[in-house]
């Protein structure tokens, strides 16, 4: 089956919207992801999210060492322009991106201003299978009491993200995609708890 640029993208958007509205929720977009099997450079789910959001009016930045091929694919399909991590509206971290590179880009990326907090970068991060034990809880708007974090997050990642989202309304919104066709979001409003089982190490 061919990917339908109207109906498949609409389905992906609705799932993405519910994920952004309910942080920690893991949505299944496998049906559409299976149709995007022509994509080899990144997860089909990543490609679908990119197709849903990017066009010639926005810019993007790709991290990692396979950046050239992914960049070309995205530019060919969406007509979005590639730019630096500092200026990009969307930052894509393909699987295998080193944490050092990811965190550096996260420190540098746009977080919006107090007047225009929407002028911030949204991240699309490829991850291992979503839904495993993460040891972290999420809370904030969109979450009834607490939700399980969709993926294990390192201490450095959480602290860099928290620093970036420190002064609400500025901040960054994260979209996670996995290789099986699942997505999940952590917007700037979500509080990520400290890791539970780890002992206090000074």
């Amino acid at each position: 089956m061919q990917l339908d640029s109207v109906h498949d993208i609409q389905k992906v958007y609705r799932e993405l919207l519910q994920c952004m509205a309910r942080p920690g929720k893991i949505a299944d977009i496998r049906e559409s992801a299976d149709k995007a099997d022509f994509v080899r450079e990144c997860h089909p789910a990543t490609f679908l999210v990119v197709q849903t959001l990017l066009d010639a009016e926005v810019t993007f930045h790709v991290l990692g060492d396979r950046t050239d091929t992914i960049r070309r694919k995205i530019a060919d399909y969406t007509f979005a322009a590639h730019t630096t991590a500092e200026d990009a509206d969307y930052i894509i971290a393909p699987k295998g991106t080193s944490e050092t590179e990811l965190l550096e880009a996260m420190r540098d990326c746009k977080a919006g201003t107090l007047e225009n907090p929407h002028q911030s970068a949204a991240w699309i991060i490829e991850s291992e299978a979503l839904g495993g034990p993460s040891g972290r809880k999420l809370s904030g708007p969109g979450i009834r009491d607490e939700a399980e974090a969709p993926i294990a997050l390192s201490e450095a990642f959480v602290s860099t993200r928290n620093l970036k989202a420190h002064e609400f309304p500025t901040g960054i919104d994260l979209i996670f995609t996995d290789g099986d066709g699942y997505i999940s979001c952590i917007p700037r409003t979500t509080a990520i708890s400290a890791k539970e089982e780890s002992a206090w190490v000074m």
Binding site: Q10, L17, Q18, R22, L53, E57, E115, G171, D173, R188
Partner: protein, 288 residues
């Protein structure tokens, strides 16, 4: 030859832009995200913002309900339903519980909405501070600095003049403890329904080119003072003249011939639903 209309009227590029703005709006609850409001086959100010949101959301599996000030059958609701149906072919309903997408002008349905539903509200005036500040550049700065003394002063002056706040509808709310937001001209009675709502609420202002949102389980507090607590419209001791419902938002009607004031449900589908069930009961009783 007649060309097929584009699914959900809008071209995909426009939908993409609205979708990007909507995602930001959800991530920043209560903040008005600017968007390039498209020309719709309807005058601005008649729900074009809500309609654009609906068109960006709708898919083949959706069931749509449109309400105009509580009524499913009034002209604004009917024309919006017709446009969406003509361009998507999806079914429409009047039953709140059957709908997956609910576009509404100035009311939130009486039946609590679920997590599988999205409420889209039409907004004429998204800026709650506009009454005392004309310049957008300044209201933007006021929001940035969380400087809301003007909004409080407005309510304070009403209390000084009239002994109570006089906001009929559109009583400002504080979203997640940060942004003061216009909840669209819903009656004060409906403000509490936004607080920790199960359903995602999206608000669209077509003429003013703004999209904003209230995610589920988000704190919504109506602005009020400690010694002047917020009060919704009070219908105690009154009930609907058709279905007898209490604890719902009622319309007041003055019947000229008899000189009596009567009340009836504002949410027509809720009223019809109750009448239907009462009818079933009567029929059941009659046959037993």
């Amino acid at each position: 030859m007649r060309a097929e209309p584009q699914f959900a009227f809008l071209d995909e590029g426009s939908k993409k832009e609205i979708r990007r703005a909507t995602l930001k709006a959800v991530a920043i609850p209560g903040y008005q995200v600017p968007f390039a409001s498209r020309e719709m086959p309807m005058a601005r100010g008649w729900g074009t913002g809500g309609l654009q949101l609906t068109c960006s959301l709708v898919g083949k599996e959706d069931v749509l309900k449109v309400i105009d000030q509580g009524a499913d059958e009034s002209v604004n609701a009917v024309s919006i339903k017709k446009l969406v149906q003509a361009t998507t072919g999806i079914p429409v309903t009047e039953r709140t519980e059957e709908a997956t997408l609910i576009q509404s002008r100035h009311r939130i349905p009486e039946i609590p909405m679920t997590k599988d539903q999205i409420l889209v509200l039409q907004v004429p005036m998204p800026e709650p501070l506009r009454k005392y500040e004309k310049k957008e550049s300044i209201t933007k700065r006021l929001h940035a600095e969380s400087e809301y003394s003007g909004a409080w002063l407005m309510l304070f002056e009403q209390i000084m003049k009239y002994g109570r706040t006089t906001t009929g509808a559109d009583h400002p709310v504080l979203v997640n403890g940060r942004y003061v937001m216009a909840p669209s001209p819903i009656p004060r009675f409906d403000n509490q329904k936004m607080d920790h709502s199960e359903a995602l609420i999206l608000l669209g202002a077509g003429r003013e080119k703004k999209i904003y949102a209230v995610p589920p389980y988000t704190e919504i507090r109506s602005l009020a003072f400690e010694d002047h607590p917020f009060k919704g419209e009070d219908f105690s001791g009154k009930c609907c003249r058709f279905c007898g419902a209490t604890g719902v938002f009622l319309d007041e009607l003055y019947i000229e011939e008899t000189g009596v004031t009567e009340y009836q449900c504002n949410d027509t589908s809720h009223c019809a639903d109750r009448l239907e069930r009462q009818g079933e009961k009567e029929v059941h009783h009659a046959t037993v």
